[in-house]
Symmetry: C2
């Protein structure tokens, strides 16, 4: 029966608070982490909808002074991380304080990076610490404690140990990663996702689904993340279609927010695979939004891994689909067909050119796909194979 | 399909390190928590087998001085907690230090209680802080960080937020409980369980199984603990019989240690039920070992809850048994039969008198069963019903 690899390390937020309206607990939670709160808001819309004022009120009621800042639109870039770190250093942020990041995956990643950099005695740029492009600098001090509060259901960044930081000149998209960067508290209030547009709901939801699937079949898969990824898929697959149609559906919003959290725990501990490897490249080389890139790459990545991942995919199929063929190959294929149909229902394109990728951009995507994600893929993928795959998808 | 209650709080160790021989990581893990280690050993056998010397060596290699102490045999009592706290206070234990507790559930609970008491400014007895029998004193300071290293696969104490403390005069068995008491790191090395006797293996294994089952059907059940409890049962049910026959079986020892850890996460967040309520009473009133008491009470408790817990029990049955009847009632009953057969295979008695309980002890068991565990039972159980149940089992 089940025989997962029994040698593992698991890191996750020591505390999760999840629930419709759970943002009202922010004061009591923050009071356990610090005496003053540096609050990063992910978007102007949060202010306009009154969410930031609500949070500041709750923190005030708990006796906690608040210093606020707002993230720029889009994924965090090196300059923004460095500027916010400097600005909060100037405001005296340090031991005894905590951070609260509210927003989509980009805002949470920005908050995680700044929380990590603030207490470092060396005053370096975040770039120095990045995988692949940095100078090998290491975080020597513990990050300031962080509460992560997602407002989309996708990246699961509220439970992961990395922050994805981009640069457009030179172009890269790399992680600041450390076991110490897992947020201390994940505070997930699915009510905050009700205003997310159908398109963003579809893309972020496919990101969460892709994370659950890739982390389940990766070579680094371990038992607890597998149990959580399976539950995430059970919840997210039937919920995504309906909630893209009607964003106010509460049980579906709850299911997706919970699945996204689980997908974050799963990927932080098991890694990902081919779809996320290419998605990172599409993000930086062609500015394709991350969730959309994942959605486009999921089915091709599963086809590419089918031969080596038949058994875990069949396991999933038997848990997730009402009826499955008896053979592993048949069951795994049925799951891929189910996902293909879901993508079609959501209007996810199947060709890279529909994403605005020019044909002459394909060669640059190959090396850019070889990041941390691809290293966990169930099998090695050569540059030639990657080039062929991208050509066939263009 | 799945629709768990989406309003929950989850607390667990922020870090888990699991693996055969994983004790070799103790130095690098402890170095992240403190500059000096107060090590509590659960038994003389650990010293005789060289385990304590190995751990001290690893801590030494990491540059960490070690102060050691040994737990008395049996479950921790008020006097022992207070004495060890005083002794380590005299040795200067405080902020900047960490604790390492190695042993069965009793040793881990002793370590958790001492870690909690050490930094409290008020120098009170642990009794003052206990649920039900204390003076209502509260832990105001964070406990010292603790690494919990279980040597049996049963209680899951390495992942819970309470320590069960006993007293024989007056007789009580109550919890010191606080969200802050979850060990910072659970370090689980299943190799340490190889020397556990067949009897203790059977009893502790049934404790873990009971914890997975009761937490799955409790009124306080929430989604993540349910996913983990299900995985725990998938692993533990087929492993327990074989490993009681041959304690050296590595995959089965791994499966049970992992299941026990999961059962701890599940119970800490979802609570338990009738079997554990009565088991606590049997422990304190008749000195029945905890795992054995759970094993005896599991099947009667499930029968008693069958009418209200048919649906989740049927869900479990369909995941756990190769073939199940179509109706919920049939499937749930098949699961109870499976557990009855497992208990019989393990030689678990079915009558309280076989545990040394005298008939005139039954009345005292009734109030003693009404603890925290029983409060989560899927339905309320009256004193009259409890008395009848105990009579029928005597």
């Amino acid at each position: 029966m089940l025989s997962p690899p029994f040698d593992y390390s698991l890191l996750m937020p020591g505390q999760i608070r999840f629930g419709w309206g759970a943002r009202r607990h922010v004061g009591s939670l923050a009071a356990t982490l610090g005496r003053r709160v540096f609050l990063l808001s992910g978007s102007r819309a949060l202010t306009e909808r009154g969410v930031i004022a609500e949070l500041v009120d709750e923190l005030d009621r708990a006796g906690l002074p608040v210093i606020t800042a707002m993230a720029a639109a889009g994924e965090p870039v090196v300059g923004e991380v460095d500027r916010l770190t400097q600005s909060w250093r100037d405001a005296g942020a340090g031991p005894g304080d905590c951070l609260l990041a509210v927003g989509g995956g980009s805002a949470l990643d920005l908050g995680k990076a700044v929380a990590a950099l603030l207490p470092q005695p060396a005053r370096l740029s975040v770039r120095d610490y990045l995988e692949g492009v940095g100078t090998g600098a290491q975080l020597t001090a513990d990050p300031l404690p962080l509460i992560a509060m997602p407002t989309t259901s996708g990246t699961g960044s509220e439970a992961t140990k990395n922050a994805v930081i981009s640069s457009y000149e030179p172009p890269f998209k790399k992680s600041l990663r450390s076991d110490r960067m897992v947020p201390r508290i994940a505070l997930v209030d699915p009510e905050l996702t009700v205003s997310v547009s159908p398109t963003i709901t579809a893309h972020t939801g496919m990101d969460a689904i892709t994370q659950c699937l890739e982390s389940y079949i990766t070579r680094k898969a371990t038992p607890i993340p597998q149990a959580l990824a399976l539950q995430g898929l059970k919840l997210a697959l039937p919920a995504l279609g309906p909630v893209v149609q009607d964003g106010t559906l509460r049980p579906e919003r709850e299911a997706l927010a919970h699945a996204a959290l689980l997908s974050g725990i799963a990927l932080a501990n098991s890694g990902l695979g081919l779809a996320h490897g290419v998605a990172a490249a599409l993000g930086i080389q062609a500015k394709v939004p991350h969730g959309l890139a994942c959605a486009v790459m999921l089915v091709p990545a599963l086809h590419s891994n089918l031969a080596v991942a038949e058994s875990p995919l069949a396991e999933l199929a038997r848990e997730l689909l009402p009826r499955t063929p008896g053979s592993d190959h048949g069951a795994a294929s049925a799951l891929i067909e189910h996902l293909t149909a879901l993508c079609a229902e959501l209007g996810i394109p199947t060709r890279l050119r529909e994403l605005g990728v020019a044909r002459d951009q394909l060669p640059a995507l190959v090396p850019a796909s070889h990041g941390n994600s691809l290293s966990g893929n169930p099998r090695a993928v050569s540059d030639d194979e990657l080039r062929d795959l991208l050509e066939s998808l263009w």
